[in-house]
C-alpha cells in the first residue's frame, strides 16, 4: 500500500493545462524522483501535494490507503507527516536557528509559555542526529546558503520523523506513521560533503518506512538517488522510469521529448540547444580586455588573498565547496560587495577594490550576472523590454526624449535572438520561466557591450534547453574574444565550458585545472581534496 497516491491530477489555468492527468504514487521505503523542464508541471504537482493548489475535478487522493479530500488540508498533511523543503527553504532570516526549527510548533502552540529549554535540548538532539553542526542561537542571516538548506532539510526530516511534535517526551509517537519527505530543488546549494549528509537523512527516512520525493534539475542526482523517476513533459507524465532503466541521456531525452545534443546529455561538444532557440550572432565585444585581480581579500565573505588573470577568449571557472569563497570572488571584483583589499584591472583601467562600486565597474567594461535572478538580477514586475534595455536607455535618447518605439523594436529583436519565450515584450518578467528570465538577464548585460562577463551559477535551477542555449552563448562570446569569469557549483558546467578552473578552499585558490585534465570528476575531486 503506497503512503501517498494521487490519481488523475489535472490543473488548468484558463485555457492552458499546467498539469494533465498525472498520477503520483509514493511507496514506503522508496526515493521517488520528479524531473522535467521548467513549465512541465513539476511545481504544479508539488503544489497540489502541499495543498497549495486545488486540482481540477476528476482526480483523487489517498494517504495511507484512505481516501482524502482535495485540496489536501494542512491537518491531513501533518497527520501523514509530510514534510516539505521548498525551493525558497521557508526560513525566517531574522529568527534564530532554534526558532526556525520549531517555527510551526511555536506558531501553533496554545501553551502560555514557550518551553525554550526543552525545545533547545530536543533541537540540539535533532541536529546532532543528522550530523549538522549549527549554533542554535545563531540568526539565520549569519548562515551560508548551504547551512540554510541543511537547516530546512533537517527541519523537514524531523517533521517526517515525528520529532517536532508536541508532548513532553523527545520521541513522542516516533515511528508510528511513516512519513514523506519532499525535497523541491533543495540541493542546489549543497556541496558534495553536504550531499552526503542529505543522503544520510534520506536513508534515515526510508529505513523507517517513509518515502522521499526528490524534485531536481540535476539528472545525475536523480539517477543516483532515486528508485523510480517520474518524468513530466508539457504537463503530462512522459515516463515513469525505474532505477535500472535510468541513465541521464535517456532522462534528458524524455524531458525534452527528442534527441538531445551531447552538450545537454553529457560533457562533450557544444550544442546549440534542444529548445530550438536560435543563437544570436553578437557583435564583437567593444574592447576585449584582460582582467586581472591581485590580492583580493574580504574577511566578511571568507576570501583571503586571491589573485588571478583572465584573458580575452578565455572562460575562467571558479569551483569550490560551499563556504570556500569561490562564489564570492566575482561579486567582490565587481564591487557588488565591499572587499577589504586588493586591486582589479580591466585592460589599462585599474581600481583599488575597496573603492570600487558597480557604476565604476560597469564603466570599466565589466558585467555581473548574479545568482539571484529575482533578488539581484532582474526587476521582475517591470516588463521584459525594460529589463532588456535597462543598461542602455541613454542610447535611445534623441532630442531629449526616449524613443519608446525604437526601444520596443530592439527588445523584440533581442527576444528573437535569445529565444526568449514571452507573450509580449511589455509582459512582466515575473511571468517568464526561470530559464527565460536567465536569458533576459544575459541579454540585458550583453546589450551593454561589456569587455568581460562575470557570472555566478549561470544556469542554476533552469531547464536543459535554456541551459544548453546559455552554454552555447557563453562559448560563442568567448570565441569572439570576450573574457568570461564564471563561478559555478555545477562541475559538469565548468568542465563543459571553462578553459581553466581555479578551485578554492577556505578563501584561497588551491588548485588550477586546465587542458585534458579538466573534467567533472577532476574538479569535484579537487574540491574535496
Amino acid at each position: 500500500m503506497p503512503l501517498v497516491r494521487l490519481r488523475g491530477m489535472s490543473k488548468r489555468f484558463g485555457a492552458t493545462y499546467a498539469l494533465r492527468d498525472v498520477d503520483l504514487e509514493l511507496r514506503g521505503g522508496e526515493v521517488h524522483g520528479l524531473v522535467g523542464a521548467n513549465g512541465s508541471g513539476k511545481s504544479t504537482l508539488v503544489k497540489i501535494l502541499s495543498g497549495y493548489h486545488d486540482p481540477d475535478q476528476g482526480g483523487s487522493a489517498e494517504i495511507g490507503g484512505e481516501a482524502v479530500g482535495l485540496p489536501l488540508r494542512p491537518a491531513v498533511l501533518d497527520a501523514a507527516r509530510i514534510g516539505f523543503v521548498h525551493q525558497d527553504l521557508g526560513l525566517v532570516p531574522e529568527l534564530s536557528v532554534l526558532e526556525n526549527l520549531w517555527l510551526t510548533r511555536i506558531s501553533q502552540m496554545h501553551a502560555a509559555r514557550v518551553p525554550w529549554r526543552e525545545l533547545k535540548r530536543r533541537g540540539a538532539g535533532i541536529l546532532r542526529q543528522y550530523g549538522i553542526s549549527l549554533d542554535l542561537d545563531a540568526s539565520v542571516t549569519e548562515l551560508s546558503q548551504a547551512q540554510r538548506a541543511l537547516l530546512a532539510i533537517a527541519r523537514a526530516a524531523a517533521t517526517v520523523d515525528g520529532r517536532l511534535g508536541g508532548g513532553g517526551s523527545g520521541v513522542s509517537g516516533a515511528g508510528s506513521v511513516p512519513g514523506v519527505l519532499v525535497l523541491d530543488e533543495a540541493t542546489v546549494f549543497l556541496s558534495a560533503s553536504h550531499r552526503e549528509l542529505l543522503r544520510g537523512m534520506i536513508a534515515h527516512v526510508t529505513a523507517a518506512g517513509g518515502a522521499v520525493l526528490v524534485i531536481t534539475h540535476d539528472l545525475d542526482e536523480a539517477v543516483s538517488l532515486c528508485d523510480r523517476i517520474l518524468v513530466l513533459r508539457d504537463g503530462r507524465a512522459a515516463a515513469l522510469v525505474a532505477r535500472d532503466e535510468a541513465d541521464r541521456a535517456a532522462l534528458a531525452r524524455l524531458i525534452v521529448g527528442q534527441d538531445v545534443e551531447p552538450a545537454v546529455a553529457g560533457a562533450g561538444a557544444a550544442g546549440a540547444g534542444a529548445s530550438g532557440a536560435s543563437v544570436a550572432s553578437v557583435d564583437e565585444p567593444a574592447g576585449a580586455a584582460t582582467v586581472q585581480v591581485s590580492g583580493l581579500r574580504s574577511a566578511g565573505h571568507g576570501v583571503g588573498d586571491v589573485s588571478f588573470r583572465a584573458s580575452p577568449g578565455e572562460i575562467l571557472g571558479f569551483a569550490g565547496l560551499a563556504g570556500s569563497g569561490f562564489d564570492q570572488v566575482v561579486g567582490l571584483m565587481f564591487g557588488a560587495r565591499r572587499a577589504d583589499g586588493g586591486t582589479v584591472a580591466v585592460g589599462s583601467w585599474r581600481s583599488e577594490l575597496p573603492d570600487l562600486d558597480p557604476p565604476a565597474a560597469i564603466g570599466a567594461g565589466l558585467a555581473y550576472i548574479p545568482a539571484g535572478r529575482g533578488s539581484e538580477g532582474l526587476l521582475l514586475d517591470l516588463s521584459v523590454a525594460e529589463n532588456l534595455l535597462s543598461q542602455v536607455s541613454e542610447r535611445y535618447l534623441r532630442g531629449g526624449f526616449l524613443r519608446h518605439r525604437h526601444m520596443r523594436e530592439r527588445a523584440e529583436q533581442l527576444v528573437r535572438d535569445f529565444g526568449i519565450r514571452c507573450r509580449d515584450v511589455e509582459a512582466a518578467c515575473a511571468e517568464l520561466s526561470g530559464g527565460n528570465q536567465q536569458k533576459v538577464l544575459l541579454a540585458k548585460w550583453l546589450e551593454a557591450g561589456p569587455a568581460a562577463l562575470l557570472l555566478v551559477e549561470p544556469t542554476q535551477g533552469i531547464d536543459v534547453g535554456a541551459r544548453a542555449m546559455i552554454w552555447a552563448k557563453l562559448r560563442e562570446l568567448a570565441g569572439s574574444g570576450m573574457t568570461v569569469v564564471c563561478a559555478s557549483s555545477d562541475h559538469e558546467e565548468l568542465a563543459h565550458l571553462a578553459t581553466r578552473v581555479l578551485v578554492m578552499r577556505a578563501g584561497q585558490v588551491i588548485t588550477e585545472i586546465s587542458g585534458p585534465a579538466l573534467t567533472k570528476t577532476a574538479i569535484t575531486a579537487a574540491c574535496l581534496a
Binding site: G14, P358, P359, I362, S390, Q391, S393, L402, A428
Partner: protein, 343 residues
C-alpha cells in the same frame, strides 16, 4: 492566411474569431482601465449638475476648482517622485505649511521683499527634503519614519513661527502671480499644468525617470545594475521638498495669507490623488497625468458635495475612501501584471 474574399470554413473561423474577440476584449478592458476615470468624471458632473444646476454648472465653480486645487496638484506631483522610488514622504504637506508660513512671515511681518521671501520659502522646502534624504541615506533610516518625525517637527516649527495665528497681509504681487486669471484660467493652474508636463517628461522620457523606477522596484537590482541608488533616493526627496515649497508659496499666494494648520489637511488628499493617479493612464505606475486628473476628479466630487450643503466631515470620508479604493485597485493591477495575461 486565406485569400481576401475566400470563404472560411467553420473550423478555421471559430478559433480565429474567438482569439480576435479576446484580443478586442483585452484592448477594451485596457482602455477602460486607463481612461475609465473620465467616464466616471462625466457621471459625477452630470449628477451634481442635475441636482444643483444653478451653482454647480457655472464658470465660477470651474474656475474655483481649477484654482483652489492646483496647489494640491503640485503637492501630489511632488509625492509621486518618492513613491516611484519606493519611498514615502509623510512630511510633504508639513513642508508645504513651512514654506507657506515662512514666506508670509518674512514678507508680512519682517518686511522682506516678496521675491527674496518666495525664494527663501522654496529653498526651505528643498532643504527640508535634503535633510530627509540625508537621514535616510547616511543613517539608513526608513523614509516612513524619517518623514513621520519630520512632519511633526515642522508642524511644531510652524506653530512657533506663527504663534498659531494665520498670517495675513502678504504682498499683492504674490497674490496676483498666483491668482491672476488669463482667459478665465487662474495662473496657479497654469503652473500646475507646466509642472505636470515636466514631471511626465522626466518620468516617461528621460533615463533618469527610469532609474527612479528601477530603484523603486528593486533597490538591490538597481544598485548592481550600476544605478547610484543613494543619489536617486536623495534626489527624489529634495525634489519632493522643492515642489512642496513651490506649492506652499503658491498656497500663500492663492489665499493671500498663511494658515499654520494647512499642512495637516492636505496630506491625505495628496496621497489619495497620487495613488488614484497610479491606477489610470499608465496603470500600476505613479504618473503625472494620472495625478492631475485624480486631483480634479476628487475635487469635482468634494465641491459638488459642498454645494449640496453636506457637512465637512463627508470630505474626509470621501478622500479616505478614495485612498483605500485606489490602493486596492493598484494592488489588483499589479497582481495581474505579475501573474501574466488574463486567462
Amino acid at each position: 492566411m486565406t485569400n481576401p474574399g475566400a470563404a472560411l470554413t467553420a473550423d478555421e473561423q471559430a478559433p480565429g474569431s474567438r482569439a480576435a474577440a479576446r484580443a478586442r476584449m483585452d484592448r477594451a478592458i485596457n482602455v477602460a482601465e486607463r481612461y475609465g476615470i473620465f467616464a466616471a468624471w462625466i457621471v459625477v458632473i452630470v449628477v451634481f449638475g442635475a441636482i444643483e444646476p444653478s451653482t454647480f454648472l457655472t464658470v465660477a465653480t470651474v474656475r474655483n476648482i481649477l484654482g483652489s486645487d492646483a496647489v494640491l496638484v503640485i503637492l501630489g506631483l511632488g509625492l509621486i517622485l518618492p513613491l516611484t522610488a519606493g519611498e514615502y514622504d509623510l512630511s510633504i504637506a508639513s513642508i508645504l505649511a513651512l514654506s507657506s508660513v515662512a514666506t508670509a512671515v518674512l514678507n508680512a511681518n519682517d518686511g522682506v521683499p516678496i521675491v527674496p521671501a518666495v525664494i527663501i520659502g522654496i529653498a526651505l522646502g528643498a532643504f527640508t527634503g535634503l535633510v530627509n534624504g540625508v537621514l535616510m541615506v547616511y543613517f539608513g533610516i526608513e523614509s516612513l519614519i524619517v518623514t513621520l518625525g519630520m512632519s511633526t517637527v515642522l508642524a511644531g516649527l510652524v506653530l512657533w513661527m506663527t504663534n498659531a495665528l494665520t498670517i495675513s497681509g502678504v504682498s499683492i504681487g504674490l497674490v496676483n502671480a498666483a491668482d491672476h486669471t488669463i482667459g478665465g484660467i487662474p495662473l496657479v493652474f497654469v503652473y500646475a499644468l507646466v509642472i505636470t508636463i515636466v514631471l511626465w517628461y522626466v518620468l516617461h522620457y528621460l533615463p533618469a525617470g527610469r532609474r527612479i523606477l528601477f530603484v523603486g522596484r528593486g533597490r538591490e537590482v538597481a544598485r548592481l545594475s550600476g544605478v547610484r541608488v543613494d543619489r536617486v533616493r536623495l534626489g527624489v526627496m529634495v525634489t519632493a521638498g522643492l515642489l512642496a515649497g513651490v506649492a506652499g508659496v503658491l498656497y500663500t499666494g492663492v489665499s493671500g495669507s498663511a494658515n499654520p494648520t494647512a499642512g495637516a489637511t492636505l496630506l491625505l488628499p495628496a496621497f489619495a490623488s497620487a495613488f488614484l493617479g497610479s491606477t489610470i493612464i499608465t496603470p500600476g505606475r505613479f504618473n503625472a497625468w494620472g495625478t492631475i486628473v485624480a486631483v480634479y476628479f476628487l475635487a469635482t466630487g468634494t465641491t459638488g458635495l459642498e454645494l449640496l450643503g453636506v457637512s465637512a466631515w463627508v470630505e474626509q470620508l470621501f478622500y479616505g475612501a478614495a485612498l483605500i479604493g485606489a490602493v486596492i485597485i493598484r494592488q489588483l493591477v499589479r497582481r495581474r501584471i505579475t501573474a501574466g495575461p488574463r486567462r
